[in-house]
């Protein structure tokens, strides 16, 4: 076990992938000499060369579109979209090309492309630097979408994503880049939890609390705080957003009877809606209350002085837990 930051863990996982497979190639803006704006790719170009770690011109559609061509030729490109809000120029290449190529070619052409996206808010950035665009991609067939929440997962899941023959959107919570955690760099990948499996972080009996990415830490803190009040929360880190591991969530909800889902992305059409609907379909008669969503608002990501109001914090999550439990909460007295 080694203590390292989240960013360092991804770096280490990328390094391992570059060492293991000569077909792995990294591309993106500023990822070479600078080592990425968050230094996630620090030192990789120096060690693997300019043809394995490629500084590209500033053109997001091209970064993803050329990765399609490289995949056609048998490469496993890992591309970095510098910030969440910059992914939209590449949207067509991701949803119309990367996602559909395997289907379109009847399985003859594989698209093992990993698209790394630093996402989410809480770092005081200007607009376009703090978005949570994951639902656009969970809605698109052919893509796998994951969000990591801790250094160990970051280290293993980046390698799993790169080895996956399907395209993977790899969301990295940028406000957690500097958080430290234990990482077992000797972990044999086949022994690691599969990438599409959710993880139960704390066991509980009263409420199932589902989170992913940056809010996993907040959800765990909320569970700790709730425990002081005698409320037992089971926290689930989804890890995979498409597909969601419903078996794990379902098992938990059958036990607790109550479900709270939290994410930074806006509420409408978000992943929380999908989880709420799917769990309601699957275990309606086990639910004691309607599933509750604690999410960002349906607003453009706000300027930084008010972003803390938009981002679900510990207290807002606990208020949601109270709603699920039918205890006094901010909406008490409201019908519906």
């Amino acid at each position: 076990m080694t203590q390292m930051t989240f960013a360092r863990a991804i770096n280490s996982g990328l390094r391992k992938s570059l060492e293991d497979d000569p077909k792995v190639i990294l591309m993106g803006e500023d990822i070479g000499t600078l080592g990425g704006v968050f230094r996630v790719t620090d030192g990789l170009q120096k060690d693997f060369g300019k043809h394995r770690v490629v500084d590209t011109p500033l053109a997001e559609s091209a970064i993803v579109g050329t990765a399609v061509g490289l995949a056609y030729r048998g490469y496993r490109p890992v591309v970095e979209i510098q910030f969440d809000g910059f992914i939209y120029p590449a949207f067509d290449q991701i949803v119309s090309q990367v996602a559909k190529m395997h289907y379109r070619t009847l399985g003859t052409v594989k698209m093992p492309i990993t698209i790394r996206v630093p996402f989410g808010g809480g770092i005081g950035s200007p607009e376009h630097h703090s978005e949570s665009p994951e639902a656009y991609f969970t809605h698109t067939s052919g893509l796998r979408v994951v969000a990591v929440s801790n250094p160990q997962d970051a280290y293993t899941m980046i390698q799993q994503a790169i080895r996956c023959d399907d395209p993977v959107l790899f969301f990295e919570p940028k406000r957690r880049y500097h958080d430290k955690g234990d990482v077992d760099e000797g972990l044999h990948l086949p022994n690691a939890l599969p990438m599409d499996t959710a993880s139960v972080l704390t066991e509980g009996t009263d409420v199932t609390l589902v989170a992913y990415g940056p809010l996993v830490k907040t959800a765990r803190d909320a569970a700790t705080a709730a425990a002081d009040e005698g409320i037992s929360i089971e926290v689930i880190d989804l890890r995979s957003l498409a597909p969601v591991d419903y078996a794990t969530v379902e098992k938990s909800v059958r036990k607790t009877g109550r479900l709270v889902i939290t994410h930074e992305a806006g509420q409408s059409g978000g992943l929380g809606a999908e989880v709420a609907a799917s769990i309601t379909e699957r275990c309606f008669y086990h639910l004691e209350a309607a599933p509750v969503r604690v999410t960002g608002f349906d607003v453009p990501y706000p300027y930084s002085k008010v972003e803390m109001h938009h981002l679900p914090g510990l207290d807002r999550i606990l208020d949601g837990v109270d709603r699920a439990l039918g205890q006094p909460n901010s909406l008490s007295g409201l019908e519906g």
Partner: protein
């Protein structure tokens, strides 16, 4: 006809258009080796690139041009008869497709648009396979790796990036093959094509941008897309360009060979503008009489890519009765094969809809497939249930 129109106005490499007249006119700065009247004219710079094309090869090119036109006519008829959902005719663009495709090596890789069915034919794709997508029986008519040609792209210009990425891979591998991408004049307005040229130039990768300027993007004329000759756009990216008479199969072949040779020897990308004309509609769904002048069509009919090779063969005494019979029989045979293959295509199975979305299991999709299979099974005969479902 001006002097320039005969292709004798000198080399065209990197020459910008001058003057104020319509810069998209077919006249100026055009590489040409066979005139519309079928006269083989000399071009000191490009002649050496086709010096191996003797009588036999010329006859073979004529055969391909003719067969491809026949495929196109037959497919258009099949669409009109309700056998194909849609068809994008290439009528008039045969020389641009045959001349370029026949210049390629088998290990060169093609990323095309949906109109390059003639290119596919030259790569060895069977006529029936060309129709699969348009009949709606499959998303891909062929395995890209068996012919080194990607499944045709519908999104305008997206494939230029795929070719550029593939060329980056060729460069990394230290190979000497080339990625070739086909697109139309309208595509040059798309961001992806411009981004592809930025990447291709920055990394000096072996890619050939083959732009078939057929003058129309559905109903929008090329003058709406660009205020300069399309070939000149490449100069801004630092990419050498060639502007060729796209209805001249020999000139197209020569230009493509120049570009391929440059790419193979580390010279990076080349942009070719093949000036041609789409004689038919964009697809069988539109009506060109609503948006273009009949006179324009007439002017271009006089520059027909097949007629001029026929005239050249005739001048050379090669257009014999025996040769004509051979061509007719070949075209008839391909047309028969095409029609029979189209009508005899087996219907896909209902659960095929779920195949190949992912390369490994996906729990969401597996569940949906399982539920739909159960639903179909509840009818007894799944095929019948599916057809009823679709009819409702």
């Amino acid at each position: 006809m001006s002097t320039d129109e005969t292709g004798q106005g000198g080399t065209t490499v990197g020459v910008a258009a001058g003057g104020t007249e319509d810069h998209h006119g077919s006249g100026r700065n055009l590489i040409q080796l066979i005139t519309p009247e079928g006269e083989r004219i000399s071009h000191p710079e490009f002649d050496p690139w086709v010096k191996d094309i003797g009588d036999e090869q010329l006859c073979s090119l004529f055969e391909d041009l003719t067969v491809i036109r026949r495929i196109d006519v037959e497919a258009t008829a099949l669409q009109r008869q309700g056998e194909l959902g849609l068809w994008p005719p290439l009528l008039g663009q045969e020389a641009a497709q045959v001349g370029s495709a026949r210049a390629l090596r088998s290990d060169d890789f093609i990323f095309s648009s949906y109109r390059e069915n003639g290119v596919a034919y030259c790569r060895g794709v069977g006529p029936t396979d060309i129709l699969r997508v348009w009949r709606g029986n499959a998303s891909s008519g062929w395995d890209p790796y068996t012919v080194n040609m990607a499944t045709p792209q519908i999104i305008i210009g997206a494939q230029t990036l795929h070719a550029t990425g593939y060329a980056m891979g060729i460069q990394n591998d230290g190979a000497d093959s080339v990625a070739v991408t086909y697109f139309g004049d309208g595509a040059t307005s798309e961001g992806d094509v411009n981004e592809a040229m930025v990447f291709a130039a920055s990394f000096q990768v072996p890619v050939v941008f083959f732009c078939s300027n057929n003058h129309w993007a559905i109903s929008e004329p090329v003058r709406l897309q660009s205020h300069v000759q399309l070939a000149d756009r490449a100069a801004g990216f630092g990419i050498p360009n060639l502007r060729v008479d796209g209805n001249d199969v020999l000139a197209v072949m020569a230009a493509t060979r120049v570009a391929l040779d440059r790419a193979r020897h580390g010279g990076g990308p080349t942009f070719i503008e093949a000036v041609t004309y789409r004689m038919g509609p964009h697809t069988t769904a539109d009506d060109p009489t609503r948006y273009r002048d009949a006179n324009e069509l007439e002017d271009w009919a006089a520059k027909d890519p097949i007629e001029r090779v026929k005239a050249l063969l005739d001048r050379k005494g090669l257009y014999t009765d025996q040769f004509q019979q051979h061509i007719r029989e070949k075209a008839d045979q391909v047309a028969r094969e095409l029609r029979a293959g189209c009508i005899g295509m087996p219907e896909p199975e209902p659960l095929d809809v779920f195949k190949h979305v992912y390369s490994s299991p996906n729990s969401w999709l597996d569940r949906q497939q399982d539920h739909y299979a159960r639903y179909l099974a509840s009818f007894g005969d799944p095929a019948e249930a599916a057809s009823q479902e679709g009819a409702r």
